[in-house]
């Protein structure tokens, strides 16, 4: 059985260019902080990666802090930029953000999954200076928040804005707000590297001071191979359009097969590769297992480290009610085969047939 990998939002397959960059960096012997020629070689690779990210996301190279991944980048931003401020956090944010902001006020989203801008404006007007955290793209539904409008509201109210762009990184979003978090393995690089991009002039005390790396903002020797791999994991031209076409074929197929099923956030702008298919009455856990046994890797929102599947807080925030436990996330990787929609739909139809037989 040839397996079909449709869980790119958990991690993208490694891109060949990223793999080559990782291997080259693994053979660079020096520590980027060392004085000698070998250290300078490593430093050169590190700064080349920084420049590549800067160019890609429209940030100043000096305002890019390499971290261990998206979770650390988010935690660093929230800890540093949220100190002494009210925290306003989108209701559908990733646990990496929610857990870093205990006691935060949730920002409601509409049924399409986008942040309620009127509610944001009202909350901003009502209280001391805030740090607002919004994700550029949702990991479960792929829905994109109206970030430009949200950023304008924040600026007007004197609030800071942190953007979790871990999933949206593939779209090369320009730096917006005060800070933006990225993750290497969601781009097609290896796991173990992420970055926090800062608006110039943003002062940021470190979470880990260590040896003063990253201009004193993140201690610890930089993970050069992972960082080089992240910087080399650039999406190919036209990739988004190809994936969107595959995604649309999946969604058209679902609509034809199952009138009771629906796609979360379908009316909103979304990532091109993501489809959150809700099949009312079918436990997400059962769906993921059934498809895995059929050779297809999908996901039910966020799985915790034990592997247990929990009810989707994203679907719940979008008003899905009971169906919040019935969402299946399909996320196409950069190298998804052309026949992915047909193979997926065949297995999905068989799964649905079995489930509805019992329900009948």
């Amino acid at each position: 059985m040839v397996r079909l990998y449709l869980d790119a939002n958990a991690t993208e397959p490694l891109r060949p260019a990223a793999r080559a960059a990782v291997l080259a960096a693994l053979d660079a012997v020096g520590n980027a902080s060392a004085v000698h020629a070998d250290g300078r070689t490593a430093r050169r690779l590190l700064e080349a990666a920084r420049s590549a990210l800067a160019q890609r996301f429209g940030a100043a190279p000096g305002e890019i802090i390499f971290t261990s991944g998206g979770t650390e980048a988010n935690a660093l931003a929230i800890q540093a930029l949220g100190a002494g401020r009210r925290l306003l956090i989108g209701a559908t944010e990733h646990p990496a953000v929610l857990a870093a902001a205990p006691g935060a006020t949730p920002l409601p989203v509409g049924t399409a999954g986008q942040v309620d801008l009127e509610a944001l404006a009202a909350l901003l007007a009502d209280g001391p200076p805030a740090l607002v955290c919004l994700m550029a793209a949702n990991n479960e539904s792929g829905v994109l928040h109206p970030l430009a409008a949200a950023a304008a509201l924040c600026t007007a109210a004197g609030a800071r804005l942190h953007v979790d762009a871990v999933q949206a990184g593939r779209l090369n979003p320009p730096l917006i707000g005060d800070s933006m978090a990225l993750s290497g393995h969601k781009l097609g690089g290896p796991m173990g590297a992420g970055a926090l991009l800062l608006r110039p002039g943003t002062v940021l005390p470190p979470l880990i001071a260590g040896g003063g790396q990253e201009r004193g903002r993140r201690g610890g020797t930089e993970a050069l191979p992972a960082i080089a791999g992240m910087a080399a994991a650039l999406p190919e031209l036209g990739e988004a359009a190809r994936l969107a076409a595959l995604r649309d074929r999946i969604e058209a197929g679902i609509a034809a097969l199952a009138p009771e099923a629906w796609i979360a956030g379908q009316g909103a702008p979304r990532l091109p590769n993501t489809s959150l298919i809700v099949l009312p009455g079918a436990a997400a856990e059962t769906q993921v297992i059934a498809l895995d046994l059929a050779g297809i890797a999908t996901s039910a929102g966020a799985a915790c480290s034990s592997g247990k599947v929990t009810r989707s807080h994203v679907l719940a925030a979008m008003g899905a009610g009971e169906a919040a436990g019935c969402g299946l996330r399909v996320s196409l990787p950069w190298n998804a085969p052309e026949d992915a929609p047909e193979r997926f739909l065949e297995a999905w139809a068989m799964m649905r047939g079995r489930l509805s037989r019992r329900a009948a």
Binding site: E285, T286, I289, G307, R354, R358
Partner: protein, 358 residues
């Protein structure tokens, strides 16, 4: 065939998975996450702890089989833990392992198995499923010491048809451990689970009191003849037949006293001498039959608690009230809330829960 194995992370269910895999079946492992293990950290000897999920996954990895962790915390809380507390609050002595088998394990896993196109559900229970003239029969395990058929007495005929108990024919636990060792399973020497899994401290009354505070309220200890002998510290600490924890009411002169009855309404504990405790007729509710329900009084053997050998009795089924009247050959002490399992030889005929006499 494609078979789902309920893997607890213990040696028994690990061996079941390994045996079925070795026989060439497509084995799918499932481990139930039943409650938050945060509080009950890494305590050896209690089942379903976080370490057990880890162990189950390790075994599955070693065998190279698919393995899933199923979140059943809410379901377990409502179907088992709350029922456990409610039973104490009603003056009974619950048996949560049977409720768990009845709901979370057999009902839900059989349903999941059907959803996944699986043909059978295998567990590490010590019981035998034998082919009979009228379909599968459930029998006591070959190892009488380990036999768990009592805990399976709420298994329905449909569930039994789907179930497999590969350990039922093993002569003893040592033989199962030897298989685990031969197959190189890291859990081969793991200790058996002892406690009720969600009460790792063993202090049931604390768990019960957290959910049903009324079970920790004091009340009177009254003799069967009406004399008030003392005060108790909450119904949740007592069960029928118990002699400990009665304080000044533990003796009537030279005669030791035992709990004869728990009265939830008045919160009274009624005590009496040992000889006054046995009942000649024991009512049983929520009967599950693995045979066609008998229309006439049936002579069989009955087991009224986990640790006893079945005793001769005559049982009469009243289909109209859904009650079974059990008349043991010798009057017996029966604690409401415990299970009553019926046998004919080694065969389990059915079972239910002991009701209060009123």
């Amino acid at each position: 065939m494609r078979v789902l194995v309920a893997m607890s992370g213990g040696v028994d269910s690990s061996v079941v998975a390994a045996l079925l895999h070795a026989e060439g079946h497509e084995v799918i492992g499932a481990t139930l996450q039943l409650y938050d293990h945060g509080a009950a950290t890494a305590r050896k000897g209690a089942c379903c702890a976080g370490q057990d999920i880890h162990d189950a996954r390790d075994v599955a990895d070693r065998l190279g089989i698919a393995h899933y962790v199923l979140d059943r915390e809410q379901r377990f809380r409502s179907a088992v833990i709350e029922d456990f507390a409610a039973s104490y609050a009603a003056g009974e002595t619950p048996i949560p392992c049977i409720r768990c088998n009845q709901t979370v394990k057999f009902h839900d896993l059989v349903e999941l198995a059907r959803d996944l196109g699986v043909e059978a559900l295998a567990t590490g229970h010590y019981a035998r499923r034998l082919a009979g003239p009228a379909g599968p029969e459930l029998h006591r395990a070959a190892d009488a010491e380990r036999d768990q058929s009592y805990f399976l007495c709420a298994t329905t005929p449909a569930q039994l048809a789907f179930a497999r108990f590969p350990l039922g024919d093993y002569p003893d636990k040592a033989a199962v451990r030897a298989v685990a060792e031969r197959l190189g399973l890291a859990v081969a020497a793991k200790p058996d689970s002892q406690d009720i899994c969600f009460v790792p401290t063993g202090r049931y009354h604390e768990t019960v009191a957290a959910l049903r505070p009324e079970t920790a309220l004091p009340g009177e200890i009254v003799h069967l003849d009406g004399r008030v002998l003392g005060t108790h510290r909450g119904l949740g600490r007592y069960t029928v037949g118990q002699g400990r924890g009665l304080g000044e009411a533990s003796r009537d002169g030279e005669t030791p006293l035992y709990v004869a009855r728990l009265e939830a309404g008045t919160r009274r504990i009624v005590v009496g001498p040992r000889a006054a405790l046995p009942q000649s007729t024991i009512p049983v509710r929520e009967m599950n039959w693995l045979i066609p329900p008998p229309t006439a009084p049936l002579a069989c053997t009955v087991k009224l608690r986990a640790r006893e050998t079945p005793q001769p009795a005559v049982v009469s089924w009243d289909a109209a009230t859904g009650r079974l009247a059990v008349v043991p050959a010798a009057p017996a002490i029966a604690a409401p809330g415990q299970a009553c399992a019926l046998y004919e030889g080694t065969r389990l005929l059915g079972g239910g829960f002991i009701a209060r006499g009123d």
